[in-house]
């Protein structure tokens, strides 16, 4: 067990590789109770969220979820988040990262003063069931009809008599579900999922494999690809930055950054030389000068290759470009490759 942002969490239950591969082959069950669940309500909730997030909240239909970011006034990021419109349609659920929950909530409360909106942190449980067998396993507990829940949509559901919010979403690139539920019922639902999943090959998965699974998809992790020094454009998140939706926090800075052109960009790479590159290793030029850094790097259990993501100067961010990464006392060769590293198998709508 390790302490992670004040939560006692296992890095692995059995073996990181086994947990990783089982999630891709059948199903993995993740305890993600550390994620912060924040309720935003009131007649001004939509306008408020529109003003503090980068994606376009007005596009959300009831039950629909949206990946977005929470920018600071300087255009860097406080967090990446998922915004869901609930019923009534003035109610929203915002899921934030564990490490940022306190700061996010404080920032949101402060900003909400100008709006008819309430921000309330609601400690609750959250589980993720991920992998190709997820649908079959969950159907055993909730009955038929999961095919009516499209990707990035959330519905109320009852599991083992517990009222939950169930969504088709996740952080692994596999089909799967995330379940928000009351803290005191989390263990009961966890055990029911383990029992229902066992015949299908379900394993319980720790933080270690959660990280390698998301890395294979090229998904950003706060504190690595994005933080208070990065803007979402260079992080490749321009698809969730709607500069034309109207004013929002950090918009001016992002418009300026876009106007000047990006100095650096996040790229995916695979190692050509043998050693794995790890988080924080330097990207260097031929003379050994630092020109960037690795944000996340690890061996990919699916590919059997060493992969990672790095910030590099925009002039050297083209696909196929060779990079040098300083590994201990020598530079090692890597090559820029497309992301995701492993094809996504999420059930995209239509």
């Amino acid at each position: 067990m390790v302490e992670f942002c004040g939560w006692e969490m296992p890095v692995l239950y059995t073996s990181l590789s086994e947990e990783h591969k089982a999630t891709r082959a059948s199903a993995g069950l993740f305890d993600i109770c550390h994620m912060g669940q924040v309720a935003v309500t009131g007649p001004g909730a939509e306008v408020f969220l529109q003003s503090i997030t980068t994606n376009d909240v007005s596009r959300l239909k009831p039950g629909q979820m949206q990946y977005s970011t929470l920018p600071a006034p300087d255009g860097t990021l406080f967090d990446d988040i998922i915004v869901t419109r609930l019923v009534p349609t003035t109610d929203f659920l915002v899921v934030v990262n564990a490490a940022n929950t306190d700061e996010d909530v404080a920032w949101m409360r402060q900003q909400a003063e100008k709006f008819e909106a309430e921000v309330e942190y609601r400690p609750a449980g959250m589980l993720a069931l991920q992998g190709p067998a997820s649908d079959k396993i969950l159907t055993k507990l909730v009955g038929p009809g999961l095919d009516q829940v499209p990707y990035y949509h959330l519905v109320p559901a009852e599991i083992e008599g517990v009222n939950c919010l169930l969504s088709r979403s996740g952080y692994t690139g596999e089909d799967g579900f995330e379940i928000c539920l009351p803290n005191d019922s989390t263990l009961k639902v966890w055990e029911a999922l383990v029992a229902a999943g066992k015949p299908e090959g379900l394993v319980t998965v720790g933080l270690g494999a959660r990280n390698t699974l998301r890395l294979e998809m090229g998904y950003a992790l706060y504190g690595h690809e994005i933080d208070r020094t990065t803007n979402p454009l260079e992080a490749g998140l321009s698809w969730v930055v709607k500069l034309d939706k109207g004013p929002f926090v950090g918009r001016q800075s992002m418009v300026a950054v876009k106007g000047m052109g990006l100095k650096r960009q996040l790229v995916g790479f695979e190692m050509v030389d043998r050693a794995p590159a790890r988080d924080g290793y330097k990207v260097v030029d031929a003379s050994g000068k630092e020109i960037g850094y690795v944000t996340s790097g690890a061996p990919s259990p699916t590919l059997g290759k060493n992969i990672g993501m790095a910030y590099v100067p925009s002039g050297q961010a083209a696909m196929g470009t060779e990079l040098l990464i300083q590994i201990r006392n020598q530079p090692a060769k890597a090559r820029i490759v497309p992301r995701p590293f492993v094809p996504s198998r999420v059930k995209k709508n239509k």
Binding site: L16, S17, G208, T212, P276, P301, N306
Partner: protein, 128 residues
């Protein structure tokens, strides 16, 4: 778990077998089991010299990088090079075929290392 009685051990889970001035070095079965997903091993070249308890190489799991420390100081005379590309011997026979390097040691003083009994106790305590 087997901990051979004729070897000396470090707190970072290396073992050393001293025969005269020649020291054979590897990592223990306990270490191999703890690392689990071994994905990378980097050993030094013959001729390199290392001070006692300083890193002579690295071993990596999917999750992390671990230094390999030289239990005794000396010059590398032999390297189990094939081990770097195939971890099977390391996993199956860490105290035998899974050896890593041989050193010609300066000092044969092993008073800073643990014997098998002490190492076994050390591993037990590490778990609690």
């Amino acid at each position: 778990m087997t901990v051979p009685a004729d070897l000396k051990y470090t707190e970072s889970h290396e073992w050393v077998r001293l025969q005269g001035k020649e020291a054979t070095v590897g990592i223990t079965a306990h270490a191999v089991q703890a690392i689990k997903d071994i994905v990378f091993l980097e050993l030094p070249k013959a001729g390199a010299s290392f001070e006692k308890m300083k890193p002579f190489g690295v071993i990596e799991s999917v999750k992390a990088v671990f230094d390999l420390n030289a239990p005794l100081g000396g010059k590398v005379t032999a390297v189990n090079t094939p081990l770097q590309d195939n971890f099977a011997d390391l996993q199956a026979d860490p105290f035998g075929k899974g050896w890593m390097i041989k050193l010609e040691v300066g000092s044969t003083d092993t008073s800073h290392l643990m014997d098998a009994t002490a190492y076994e106790k050390f591993c037990e305590n590490e778990h609690h």
